[in-house]
Structure formats: structure tokens, C-alpha cells
Symmetry: C2
Subunit: 126 residues, 2 copies
DNA sequence: AACCGATATGTTTATATTTGCATAATAGCT
DNA sequence: AGCTATTATGCAAATATAAACATATCGGTT
């Protein structure tokens, strides 16, 4: 959301981001990785998900691995070989994680609407 | 906030960030720059603020300039020369901005508490 | 007019992050 | 057994971000 028409903040937007972090302050997964895992869920393949999102397979694979290592459990069951070369499906934990994240985003969006409105009212006070 | 004791998410935290962005998708200012401007307000000097925060003067100065250019108006009135070499005070706009940001953070913290609780309940469902 | 300490800014060095390249391993199918 | 599409991974190259270095400018005080 942007500030009101004519104000100094007319083309300024308030944005936010949510992510998981471990006790060392390292990011585990945020927006991008959630989107990736969601696409793996929908497409059944790491490669397909990477192509869809527009990142390299190398990066997508590295991202999933990194998140899994930091969490200490698998998010995706990966299989290589076979008729179609292989495939990937979410583990129950991975599935629950992306579902919870989607709900979280909806609730964040609801909260942020009021907060944003108030913020722009405040900065535009004469 | 972390997940409940004993759960897979025991030492995992949900974190968030808010920032201002322009229509080109460029970040204008977030956490770090708000903190910097707040310190300039409290200490009356860019240099003192940079030292306090632990970044170089060069970087602090660049950060303020960048934000001001993207916003199109000044946040800090800077004066050089004089008895103490110079000083910096916030413009009315800068002052309103950090005040609004502080309120925003408080409200975000309140909202996120419930959202986080719900999130960890969800991912830990059996 | 000389001094001082903070602002102002270009340039260079270092570091971190991302992207890309190349190549191996795998397993159902024909 | 060979083909195929995907997973798996090391390593080099390219970018982006941040830190460090060097210098100039300015104006109240002395």
C-alpha cells in the first residue's frame, strides 16, 4: 500500500517479510524458499519448480538442502533415476510447513493493512 | 518466539522485517536506516550516530543520502563547520518518519505474537 | 588567519552472495 | 545394456555489498 495521493509518500510502499531463523541468527527459510517448496509440492519435481520460478536447478537444490540441514529434518523426499529421471514430493513435515506459512501470510496481510494505514496517516500529519 | 519445548521447532524463531520501498522496487529505508536516523536525532550528529551503531561515517552518510534521494526530500538538516565542526538535526519530516516507524514496530510486535503462536501450533500438529 | 571537528565524496579493497558450468549417479523402460 | 530425465555436487566466474582509505570543505572560536 502506498501513501495517499498528493502526499510526499504517494509512491512509497510499506513492505514486510517473515522468515524462520535458528538460534545462531541464521536464516532458515523465508519467502523464496517457501515459494520453491510450494512449487515442488505442486509440480512434483525440483527441476520443474526451479524452471517455473526462474532460478537455476543448482540454486533450488542448494536452497532446499540448506533449509533441511538447518532444520534437522527433511522437507522433500527426493528420488533420482527411473522412468522420468526422478521426482520429488514433500514430506509430511514439509507439507505442514508450507500450509502453516500460507495461513501466516494471510493473517499478516490482514494485520498489516491497518498498521500501514495508520503509518501513512502519521507521517502525513501536518 | 520459538516453537514449544520438545518440538521439531524448539530452537526455530519466526522473525519479520518492515521497510519502505519505491515503485521501482528499490528499498528506501528499513531497520538499519531507521535506527541510524533515530540515533542522529538523539545524538545530534551523523558521526556520533555512526560510532554508536558501529558503522563507518562513510557508510552512515551514504545511507542517509541514499534514503533522501529516493524519498525526494530531506530527513536530516546537516551543518558543517562551526565550533564543533558541524552537527545534524532531523527535519520535521524525518522526525515524523521515525516516530511513525516506532509506533509501527510496536503494533507489529503485538500482531505477530498471535500469528506466531498459531503458526507453531499448526506445524506441530500430529 | 589558523585550528578543530564534523560533513561531503571519490576511489579502492575486501568480502559475501549469486550465478553458471561441468559432471557424476540413479533406476525404470525399451 | 543403453537411453533418459532428474537428482546430486564441486568448483569457477561474475555480481553485489560492505569496509577502508584518502581528502576536501566548511564556519564558529581563539
Amino acid at each position: 500500500m502506498a501513501g495517499p495521493k498528493g502526499s510526499k509518500y504517494y509512491d512509497v510502499f510499506l513492505k514486510f517479510k517473515v522468515w524462520l531463523e535458528n538460534t545462531d541468527g541464521e536464516g532458515i527459510l523465508g519467502d523464496g524458499k517457501f515459494e520453491l517448496i510450494d512449487q515442488i509440492d505442486q509440480l512434483g519435481s525440483l527441476k520443474a519448480a526451479a524452471d517455473k520460478i526462474g532460478i537455476s536447478y543448482r540454486k533450488a537444490w542448494g536452497n532446499v538442502k540448506d533449509a533441511e540441514e538447518k532444520l534437522g529434518f527433511l522437507l522433500v523426499d527426493k528420488h533420482r533415476g527411473g522412468q522420468h529421471g526422478g521426482n520429488s514430493v514433500l514430506t509430511p513435515e514439509g507439507k505442514k510447513l508450507i500450509e502453516a506459512y500460507k495461513e501466516l501470510l494471510v493473517e499478516f496481510d490482514e494485520s498489516i493493512y491497518q498498521i500501514t494505514k495508520k503509518f501513512f496517516n502519521k507521517v502525513n500529519e501536518k
